[in-house]
């Protein structure tokens, strides 16, 4: 995470603000052991590239980093990193919010929870996430 921050801040002397969001695997009451992230190779890269380009244009970002992990991740492991830089804080903060909101419902990733008792459950999409993504339309 530090290395990604350094990379964002090194882009330009015109940067006045950097905003980052990191999502990680949250522990739950039911004995969650890990999350497995499945994705659609090809479409994933395409969607993330388009999202980044849209964010840069819309919020006049100077730099933008999107990283999403796939495969099996244990509780506490990072899942996603969104970082943006801009001349002023408002654009960087808005850009980061836009990217994580849109990524959650628009990029082809799916979470499967694995519990200590061996149960495996696909995570249901949340209506609140759809609303958050739609708020940027």
């Amino acid at each position: 995470m530090g290395a990604e921050m350094d990379r964002l801040s090194a882009d330009s002397w015109g940067i006045g603000g950097i905003s980052v969001f990191m999502g990680q695997v949250r522990d739950g009451p039911d004995g969650l052991e890990s999350l497995t992230l499945e994705h659609y190779p090809g479409m994933t890269e395409k969607v993330l590239t388009e999202l980044a380009a849209e964010a840069v244009k819309r919020f006049r970002l100077i730099g933008c980093t999107l990283i999403h992990r796939v495969g099996t991740l244990v509780v506490g492991a990072p899942i996603v990193f969104v970082g943006t830089s801009s001349a002023h804080r408002a654009e960087a903060l808005a850009g980061t919010n836009f990217l994580i909101d849109r990524l959650k419902t628009g990029a082809p990733f799916w979470k499967c929870e694995r519990y200590q008792d061996g149960r495996q459950v696909w995570v249901d999409a949340r209506e609140a996430d759809d609303k958050a993504a739609a708020s940027w339309d």
Partner: protein, 96 residues
């Protein structure tokens, strides 16, 4: 098979991918299906496939929120499928 007839044969097909819960329910991650001669919507293709495949019919009937992508771009069931397209069906996305 000569080259031209092979290409003509392949051009009538579409590849379908299934992801996540849908992949598990379908019991396969990928298949190739022939397209009708006329232009066809995703909806019409799915209806035809469901008529031939009881398992697929049950999976799609039980999953009202299935999403579709055509050539790795989100699409709707009213969009038209062309020969050679890559289709994908999957549940609502849950990344981040």
């Amino acid at each position: 098979m000569n080259k031209s007839s092979k290409e003509a044969g392949m051009a009538q097909d579409v590849t379908i991918f299934y992801f996540a819960a849908l992949r598990e329910q379908m019991g396969r991650e990928k298949e190739t299906v022939p397209l009708p001669a006329q232009p066809v919507t995703v909806e019409a293709l799915v209806t035809e496939l469901r008529q031939k495949d009881v398992g697929m019919d049950e999976v799609f009937a039980a999953s009202p929120r299935i999403r579709v992508a055509i050539n790795q771009t989100l699409a709707t069931f009213q969009d038209t499928v062309k020969p050679g397209d890559e289709l994908a069906f999957f549940p609502p996305m849950t990344g981040g």
